[in-house]
Symmetry: C2
Subunit: 454 residues, 2 copies
């Protein structure tokens, strides 16, 4: 309110100037209906007017219908037939209602540890020195990088020190920074898995690298088909979407490729925390830290809305990536970083992950049981994470199945959206989104429609 | 811990496999000294082993010196002569110690409303639906955009609706997004004020626009010297660093330039909330919303560490900027956005700003009093914000003065760092950084050294 434009020209009284300014602000929409005005005392202090002047102006405008005064709640801009600048835009909506959302890649945020996160934020806000509220380290807060180095070491077999970690705003952001840094150093091409997530390819291309799809078989990426590329993006622990792990032989081949060509392996460890069989698959980064850039995120383990992730980089890439980050948006929010560090070091993240692993494991069993009754399909990718890929019978139409599901209000992904080369029809379904109470019914509906559509 | 690499080949017992895996993890540094291990119960559950197997393995490794068990605090990795992967990097430090930091552009974060911010986060965490924890709107949370539309209207005279606002991560990020969008639409040049902040020019150039300096006089930007450029970045309310306001005539000229050339005015309203004289200067955006892109931030009003800001855009720029944001890092953290919305709608931001205005006003008086005793200098830019520009006597050396200050442990900016064209020597000093209790002494030291150096 202190920036009301008072026209204090000779001949216009202060009260009239204030009334004109308020009227104009309300008419133009600058002060919208329902806006609470400051008390007469504080507005008077801000504008250097006598308090009585403000009280009189408020009274006049209330009489004119511009303002409304209420005991206890103060003075507000009245709602009514005052012309405002523009109507707010209508809310955006999906083209048709989705009753059951089985699209993959969204965590079950219903399990987000709200109390623990608030406690971690409280700890950060009550213990952080004032310096933590200034501009921070573009590489990421030191406490968080320290906590991540230990956490990633024990949980994912990542070999690193805090000075090789760059905190970022999730997987896409990490990939974007990395691809920009590579492009600025002369790289032009990034191999990606075929099939793989289209948004990752979009992000890489937006950052200046052309993407080239390389096929997957049941041992993971066909390393022998890697052509002349500068870097290679892989999901070694749990191929997205097919779910295979990159096996030991292929890991060796991939690192040999990196050594022979000075190529960079970019490891997307999107759901490395969730594994249900008893053969955990560690990060390939641990085998060759100077050949692999590891990208992780809290989007799958906590919630996408937090926008926190990390890169673990070969030494040569740390400085270029940090410099880029500094130029574009300085750094990630410090209090959020401190809260995540706290969640890790107190063991609360581990506890949360144990709870969620159990929850996803149960959901997975519901999905497997429902799909086991459908003949002709093959379910893959369910040893980890919270998505499954349903390969359809060879003669079926993916489009027709998706259409039938959509008519029933069920959303899922088609495998064609992930593919560059044609391949067997299939669906990719996630089991993080439907609420806990309705999950079995959601999966039952999906299975019923799918069976009928085949 | 669930991703320990157990070698469960025939002939190797489970306990031995677990011991080998733990030893290997400790030797490689993946489990670093002091790391707390899970309880035997939860590790056994995670790995599908009998609890006794884990207890025995822990006991064996404790006997070997790899682990350390303590009553109540559980089992930890021992500190000691175990070879780890790499030593952490030494902490970075400034080249020489700064006792008194008078560099501008950092807010007095000592005044940050920690309690109110925590309360706003608590409100967000306890009231937000689960959907708020998923991926959010790349344009920014609807509640925050609504709150900002009202707030910017009443406090800065900005005319907008929520659908023209894009939430970003502060001024640099907003400018970067905007310049990238302009560059992709074919723009090549951005006029900037001379003098102005070098980091803003760097950000624009990094985003693909060449910058061209345009001189400032006592009425603000010399609009008549704007050449053929696609856009023009200005600080109309309080020129950074010289402190003049763009006067009414120049505002009209600038908007006429925009209308005649279809050029875009980019308004950096970095400290619009802080004005000490009684002639508030509203945003130029309010005069012509389709010709001006307005950029604001909480870095000056709350704290840079929050990484929140906003763009208020002409309609044609909203979609390209939001698309860019989506490609690069999706969106700003949702809980932080909800907390800021809460701070605005409850009036707590207004109260905080009133407190800070008073505090800066007092600091400004201390600065003015100290500098008034130094002959030959001219102090400008002190009607708003929390920096002052000290123009030095015509024959003095800016470098020599800065050097003398630096030797005394005092950091300030030299005006030459802001200039493209040569001009009068000067210093730019901020009064947000020194702590409240030592502020008068800090300014006294500065004035004493400055006087001696002239």
């Amino acid at each position: 309110m202190h920036d009301l434009h008072l026209d204090l020209t000779p001949g216009v009284g202060r009260r009239v100037a204030l009334e004109n300014a308020l009227r104009q602000a309300i008419r133009s929409g600058a002060l919208s209906a329902g806006t609470a005005l400051p008390s007469s005392r504080s507005l008077a202090a801000d504008l250097g007017l006598a308090r009585g002047t403000v009280v009189e102006a408020y009274a006049q405008l209330s009489a004119e219908g511009y303002l409304r005064s209420r005991a206890r709640s103060g003075t507000q801009v009245a709602t009514g037939p005052v012309a405002t600048a523009a109507a707010p835009a209508p809310p955006r909506r999906d083209p048709a209602p989705i009753r059951i959302d089985l699209r993959p890649i969204t965590a079950d945020v219903n399990g987000f540890p709200r109390t623990a996160w608030l406690g971690a934020l409280r700890h950060a806000l009550t213990t952080a020195p004032d310096t933590a509220l200034r501009y921070g380290d573009s590489q990421g807060d030191e406490q968080l990088r320290g906590a991540l180095a230990t956490y990633l070491g024990r949980s994912r077999g990542v070999r690193t020190t805090p000075d090789r970690i760059v905190v970022c705003a999730g997987f896409s952001h990490g990939l974007s920074l990395l691809c920009q840094a590579l492009a600025r150093a002369g790289a032009t091409t990034l191999a990606v898995e075929d099939p793989s997530l289209r948004p990752s390819r979009d992000t890489a291309e937006h950052a200046g690298l052309a993407t080239v799809g390389v096929p997957i078989d049941d041992r993971g990426l066909r390393v022998d088909e890697l052509g002349a590329v500068d870097a290679c993006l892989v999901t070694p622990a749990h191929q997205l979407p097919l779910g295979v792990s990159l096996d030991a032989g292929r890991r060796t081949e991939l690192l040999a490729w990196a050594a022979a060509t000075s190529g960079l392996v970019v490891e997307d460890d999107y759901d490395g925390e969730f594994r249900y069989d008893r053969q955990p698959v560690g990060a390939i980064q641990g085998l060759s830290p100077e050949a692999v850039a590891y990208v992780g995120t809290v989007s799958k383990s906590l919630a996408p809305a937090l926008r926190l992730g990390w890169l673990v980089l070969p030494e040569r890439l740390v400085e270029p990536v940090v410099r880029l980050r500094h130029r574009v948006d300085r750094h990630s929010p410090t209090l959020d970083q401190l809260a995540l560090a706290r969640l890790i070091t107190t063991g609360q993240l581990d506890r949360h992950l144990r709870r969620m692993r159990l929850r996803y494991r149960r959901r997975r069993e519901v999905v497997l049981a429902a799909l086991s009754r459908i003949p002709g399909i093959t379910v893959t990718g369910i040893a980890a994470g919270y998505h499954a890929t349903v390969l359809l019978p060879p003669d079926s139409s993916e489009t027709a199945v998706l259409h039938a599901l959509r008519l029933a209000g069920i959303a899922a992904d088609g495998l064609a959206d992930y593919r560059e080369r044609p391949g067997r029809a299939g669906l990719v379904i996630g089991y993080g989104t439907p609420p806990q109470h309705s999950f079995p019914a959601a999966v039952e509906s999906f299975a019923t429609i799918l069976r009928a559509a085949l």
